[in-house]
Each structure stands twice: as C-alpha cells, then as structure tokens.
Symmetry: C2
Subunit: 374 residues, 2 copies
C-alpha cells in the first residue's frame, strides 16, 4: 500500500481529509504528540491512542544519541521498540542539533556536533539523517534542513533557505524510492514572502509526498506567524499534506487550520502537563495554584478524559504539589485529550462547512476566561 | 456489614482466608502496595487493581501534612480522593514520625514534631492518630505505637513495648465502636520472646480486630526476623488476621507466610521499580545494567504484565537510563504484578496443602540465579 492523501472537504482555505499509510490512517487536520525518546512522556502508548492520536512524532537527534538508530533497527524498529504500531513521523534532527548539541559546526555538508549526553562527536547531514530515519523505520521522514533563526535579515534568511533547498535535494536523492514511506520537504524563507514562494517552488520541483512549513514558532509571535500563514500554505501543492512544525498553542492551531494547515506537533500539551498546566475550553489552568486545593470539582466537567472523570481539582493539585508522577500522567492525558478533541472539532466543522462558527465559539469560550473559580 | 476474617485452609502454621469489609474482600495472605501520598507512585489505581491488589496502604504521617486529613475528609475521604474504592489500611504515623520528622519530642502523651515539608509543628498521639485515620476514612486503622529501634537492650525494649501497650489501650478507647471499620493492635518486644508474649497478651486483653507484628525489618536481618517469627504469630489470636509491617523482599514474605503471617506491606516493589530494579522468579534484575541494552527478549517471558508482554529488556533499559517516567510505571507495574502473583501462588499452595513444595520451587528458581543472561 502506498502513502496517499485524500482530501474530503474544504471550508475556505481549511481542509479535512485522511493520510493513508500502511500502518493506518491519519485524520487531518491532525495533532501529533511528541515522543522524543521513544516514549510520549508519562504515557503508555495505549493511553496516547485512547486520546485519539493517529500518529506520534519521534526525534531523530535524541534517538540517534540514545539508544542509537542502529540499535533500534536491530531491535525491530521504533514501532516495535516503543510498542506503537500506528504511523510515526520523525523530524530530521536539524532543529534540535542547533538548539541542544554542543560544539556545532555548520558547513555545506551538514552539522558536526558533540552529544549533549556524553560529548561524543557526530555528524548530521541530509544523507546521515535519511539513513537514521530509515533505520528507525519512520513512516513519514522529514528532509534535513536548517530552521532559520528569528529574526534574520533578508540576506541571512536567503542564504539559510537556499542551503535548506540544496539539502532538500540531497535528502530526496538519499531517501530513494521507499513505497509506503513518505518524505516531506520543508519550506523556509523566514517572514519574507518572496523567499517563501521561492522555497515552495524549489520543493515542488524536487517533489515530495508532503510539505512542511518550517522556521515558524521560533519567537516571531502569533501575529507575524499568522501573517506568514496567510500566504505560505497556498504556495504548497494543494494535493499534499501541509505540516506546520512545532505549533502550538490551541489558538495557534485553530488559526493555522483556518489558513490551510493539515498537520501539527508540539511539546506543549505533554510538557505543560508535567508542570501542572492544563488546557481547557476556557483557557489554560495552573493546577499548582492554591485556589484549587479544596476544590472538589473536576478540572473540566465537560471533558471525558480520566483526569476529569475520576479526580477532583484538589487531588490534581495535591499530586502536582507533591511531585507525584501520577499528576504528570493525568494532566498529560487530559492535555492530549483536549488537543485531540480540538482537532476532531475542527475536522467536523470543516466537513460541515461551519468552521467560522466553530472558531468563533472557540474564541468566545476562552474570552470567558479561566474555568469557573470556586 | 461488619469486618470479618474467614480462615479457609491451613498448611502447617500457614493460613489462607478472606478478610471481609464493606469495601470488598481481601484474600490472604495479602500484599498491600504502599500509596504513601494518596497514590501508589507512578500507577493509576486501575493499574494497581489489575495487578491483583485487594487493598492499598496509606501513610498517616504524609497525609496529615499534605494535603491534610481534614481536607481529605471535606473532599469525601481518601477513597474518593484517590479514586480507589476498595479497602485502605492506614498506618498510625508512629513509625514515620520517628524516621522522617524533625525536632521530635517523645513523651507519654505522644510525639511532638516539625513537618519535614514546611517545619510546621504537629502532635501525634493515640488520640490524634485515631482522629486522623477516621478523617481519612481508613478501613483498617492501626493503633499508635512506637516501633522499637534495633538493636535495643532488654530494658529499652521493655520500656518501649510497655509504652506502646499503654498507647494501644488509648488507641482502642479513642477508636470507639465503628462497625465496618477495623482497628489493629501492634505487637512489640524487639527480639525478646518473653516481651513478645507479654505484648501479645496485653493486646489480646484490650481486644483488636487484627494484630500486627511490629518492630521487625528494622535492620535485624532475615535470620533473626525469622527466629522471632517462629514464635510471634502463634502468640496472637488464631481467628484474627496477622500483619507483618513493612515486609518485605519476596523471600521474606515466603518465610513469613510459612510461619503464619497473613498480611504484608512494603515499598520495595514500587520504590525499586522507579530505580530500575525488577523482581522475577529467578531473583532481582537491574535494568540499568548495560548488558540489557541490546536484549530483545521480555524481562520475564513467563510474566503476563504489560512490561513483559509488550516491551523488550532493551526498551526498559533505555527508559530507565533516559530517566523516562514510563520506565518507572512499567517496572512498578511488573513488580506489583510479581508480588501479587507470588501471593496468589502462596494462597493456592496453602489451599492445596502443597506449601512446602511451593516454597522449595520458589527457592530453587532463585538458586538458578538472575534471568538468563544474553
């Protein structure tokens, strides 16, 4: 079975559909929980699936360092290793090698660096990134690119984008022909419309199974990000999935879906869950806050996740304050459930042609502010 | 419904039966996972139940300090707070106030101390301990006692035991008459047979629903502990459950069951799980060890827990080395599953009159040593 993308409905620039892979379908717009080190932190894979996730993301940089891609390959691949039999997307390592590794040296060939774990020297390039993602057994492989930092002047942004396009071509060549597996190209060009268009055209010429919008959510703020997204998605091929990398907050996602994006990933629901922050229809809630300590009500009475069905705000507060792992598990579960519910709501609204009503209701609920104070 | 203990079978000194409570039955010999701060660490309550646990233990000392017993009471009691509707046993706080609190001052009245969390001053006495355990809604309440330190000379042990017996009487008076709830007395007397007998007689005169053997597993070693257990259980009323507090390693439990003990609790399976130590039929295994890093086999091929059914030793090793919470969850689950399987095996063997065969097979498997090296 080949990788395919079927569009089912449009509402304005927004689209809903299904990505078909040999490992299962991905309903779009899709949110991909991040499973950095071969685990979505604090969750069992069956719990991740129970939230409604069709696909998870793995991080090439982390996995190449520990446990190592060849080791994962010998153990039967990432799916078997982490007991997740549905699709996995792996990033290229390009973003994290620049933000996490030590002694980075970027050249035309790629990036030489020292591991943040043990200082060992490694090389990431289009060719090594493709080899690593292949060894992991990733279903959706990302081209190796440089995530242009923000802010970047036009000349810096152009040089970075052009490097990424040369790397995109090398990634395509190194990936080869792998039926059932997909390779996504990544658009760069910072906040410059002409560079975004040029990058999109370069990627289209090379030809990919899907197209990501890179270099956003790196400090430019939502207004500027939405400005770029007013144009960027339409520059990419209509019949391929569009993936906005590293985004984001719930309102970022709603705004990006309205502008034509199909896929998202972000550590926010999982990372926030571990520190006591919960996402709800009425905005974010910090369970560490003392006002929850006597509150017998569920976090969100309308939510059907286990944290909301079986526990009080007071108990969640107690767990977070006491540093208990169960607090991280329950709030991660809730947050992933909230994100997947949001995606399901967006998909349903696009299919029904009521996305603007959905977005208006989404913003109205948040305007009421925090969940009911006690 | 009243608290009751039905003995079903005997094999030598060992017994198997059922403790009946309004919240459910407890099959004995029973192992009680420790849920110190209103959570069995790293586990959802339904996962704890899935291992076969009929009852969990809560710690009065921890809960009185955070979140506070009155707060738990206002929130509907400990069962509702932590979403565990089966029986809960709470300790009296006596052991932990002496091992964890600061500025302890022990008098005839009780123990004054400062919280290890925020330094606030508190008092634990037979009366306050009974009030706290009542507020928590505990099903099996423990009398407030002093766990005699080891070693203790005869005079020190006697003074400590006699104080505990006066406190046992005050605990009984303060507990009152609470149908469906049980109060257990705690035998002390260190390693001195006459003091153990005297303590048992004092408790029997006061009258309790069950009897604990205290002051063991405090550094005396297994040989000396078993020596005490050769006599201590038979000193306690035949028709009431006997609970050996804070024990222990799997072979401690087998030896104590053979000697007539019905109930156990210990942090070992949960605490060890969080640091990478797994219990198996063939002894303890440290998953941190590098020899597991390429091992595709399950931790224990004969175990049916999720850690063994769905993951390789290599993956468990990776999680533990990476400090991932899922490693703690999976190994805690495995360890609790192992402990509950052991208890089920002991119950079955006693019922069948084959306990000595069971114990011999248990020791033979361990004599083979660690699980198969790769």
């Amino acid at each position: 079975m080949r990788f395919a993308f079927d569009l089912h409905a449009r509402d304005g620039a927004a689209r809903t559909g299904v990505i078909r892979t040999p490992r299962g379908e991905i309903r779009t717009p899709a949110f991909m929980p991040v499973g950095t080190a071969a685990t979505v932190k604090a969750m069992l894979p069956e719990q991740v699936r129970a939230t409604g996730a069709d696909i998870v993301l793995g991080n090439t940089y982390h996995l190449m360092l520990r446990p190592g891609a060849e080791r994962v390959a010998r153990l039967g691949g990432l799916h078997r290793f982490m007991n997740w039999d549905r699709p996995i997307l792996t990033d290229s390592g390009g973003f994290q090698v620049m933000s996490l590794a030590a002694l980075r040296q970027l050249t035309e060939e790629g990036v030489r660096f020292a591991s943040h774990i043990d200082g060992a020297r490694h090389m990431l390039s289009p060719e090594t990134s493709m080899a690593i993602q292949r060894a992991l057994g990733s279903d959706i492989v990302m081209a190796f690119d440089e995530c242009t930092p923000f802010p970047a002047d036009e000349a810096t942004a152009r040089a970075s984008m052009e490097l990424s396009m040369r790397w995109a071509e090398r990634s395509r060549a190194a990936f080869g022909d792998r039926p059932g597996h997909a390779l996504f190209g990544i658009q760069q060009g910072s906040v410059y419309r002409d560079q975004r268009a040029e990058s999109a055209e370069a990627l289209r010429r090379i030809g990919f199974d899907g197209y990501a919008i890179g270099g956003l959510a790196v400090g430019e703020g939502q207004a500027l990000m939405f400005e770029v997204l007013d144009d960027a998605p339409a520059m990419l091929p209509e019949d391929r999935p569009r993936y906005l990398m590293g985004v984001g907050k719930p309102d970022d996602i709603v705004g990006a879906v309205v502008r034509g994006v199909d896929m998202f990933d972000c550590v926010l629901p999982t990372r926030s869950g571990r520190t006591g922050q919960a996402f709800t229809r009425r905005g974010a809630v910090n369970l560490r806050n003392a006002r929850h300590r006597d509150d017998p009500r569920p976090l969100d009475a309308d939510c059907t996740c286990p944290a909301c069905r079986n526990y009080s705000r007071a108990y969640l507060h107690h767990l977070i304050r006491s540093g208990e792992m169960l607090g991280a598990t329950l709030l991660t579960w809730h947050n992933l459930h909230y994100y997947q519910d949001l995606m399901a709501g967006l998909r349903g609204a696009i299919a029904a042609g009521t996305l603007s009503d959905f977005a208006a209701a989404f913003h109205a609920a948040r305007a009421e502010g925090d969940i009911e104070p006690i």
